[in-house]
Symmetry: C2
């Protein structure tokens, strides 16, 4: 006969983590706010400093807070967005569970829909941004990373336009993953992988509010891009150099 309940099955650090995380998610601590110092938290939670640090470390790694040292230092609530999802997808890829063709298949199914929705939500402000994005692509540049960044501005703008935060979160994370892979396999002549001007037809359709055409153009763009990506990838596949490159971007 077992009359009594077990006392503690959860780790103290997890309790602290849950409470801090809930406080952040509920908005009790907003972006930029500073959590109490470690010593303060040890008093409030009545646990040791090590326990508090374990909880805060988890929050930091998962992107909920950034930590600074010194006076005015501490754990500050970060503008977290897709960090957790991104690293989730990343880990799926790095562990070998997720292949590039699978990734591309999903993007190929979702992003045309994003473009379609974007065309339905077009406003003057967005029209302006899309034009700026296209112009930015043409600017001369020296750094490859910078170039890639500007080539995806159109995609990110369309994501915001589609009006669905979950689509935005998922596709944003998938684009991040694609970036990282491309950074490892991209040839010297990066213009051959993604020439400038490939977004023109998409934007044109979106600006005109033609939803279905926007979806078709997006699909067509992705198909050609993925095709090139696949060709280049084959040369590097299983190359130890590439694998370590992807890891090192951690």
């Amino acid at each position: 006969m077992n009359k009594f309940k077990p006392i503690k099955q959860t780790r103290a650090s997890e309790e602290v983590l849950v409470q801090l995380k809930e406080a952040i998610l509920r908005g009790h601590y907003k972006f930029g706010d500073k959590l109490p110092s470690e010593r303060e938290l040890t008093e409030q939670f009545q646990v040791s400093r090590g326990v508090v640090r374990e909880a805060i470390r988890v929050l930091q790694i998962n992107g909920f807070v950034v930590i600074r040292q010194g006076p005015t230092g501490g754990a500050y609530v970060a503008e977290w967005a897709f960090d957790q999802l991104s690293s989730g997808f990343m880990d799926l890829y790095l562990s070998g569970r997720l292949t590039i063709p699978e990734l591309n298949q999903v993007r190929l199914h979702i992003e045309p829909e994003v473009a379609r929705l974007a065309a339905l939500n077009v406003t003057d402000a967005f029209r302006q941004r899309l034009k700026e994005d296209l112009a930015a692509e043409r600017e001369p540049t020296t750094f490859r990373a910078d170039y890639r960044q500007r080539l995806t501005r159109v995609h990110f703008t369309l994501l915001e336009m589609c009006g669905n935060y979950l689509f935005e979160a998922i596709v944003n994370s998938m684009i991040s993953l694609t970036h990282r892979i491309v950074a490892a396999i991209e040839p010297e002549d990066h213009n051959s992988l993604h020439p400038v001007g490939e977004h023109d037809l998409i934007v044109e359709a979106v600006l005109a509010g033609e939803a279905d055409r926007a979806a078709r153009e997006m699909r067509s763009h992705l198909e050609t891009f993925f095709h090139r990506m696949h060709d280049i990838d084959e040369a590097f596949r299983l190359s130890p150099a590439m694998v370590s490159t992807v890891f090192q971007q951690g």
Copy 2:
């Protein structure tokens, strides 16, 4: 002129985390394997035990390892799958960034495609499983959670059938989130939210290998389900009781 790079910008615990995580992702430690004990890692990394613990705590929270105490205890590599993605979506919802209609819109766009792909990949083994899943729905039950579990077996089987691990990861996580929300708002008479037999037409189409029809049936099923879900949700929206219920499932 700053010719030299800073020596250490990363925290020791992050270094340890990266190395352990990479070892797991690379498959150096496989499912079920045991990481060295904390005291052993302390010696190998030449850092204090607290540093090692912070790293391991992150691995544990993110689902990469499970930890047991006692002799034969330690950090064992877990069969991690979608934990990180699931909690990522969960946090988006709990923080209020993601709404239920947005979630449903995405599911409504992706899951018909999953059903379509499943119909193309049908095998005898999967045929058998689908029939079992449908039969399981009919079995009498007492626990609501158990009932929900069995009602989604068809969805999970279709996910496996679609042959794309990323689709599986995303939709699996979204279904988990839906479950959690439903658990908070579900009425006593749970059969009204998702009556038995709603999957029959989907499975019928998949078994016949009719891809487009499978997609249509899936879409139709989700539309009616989300419609009911929406009606019920309105009654509970902003109810403090519900919000805390969702949090408590953490």
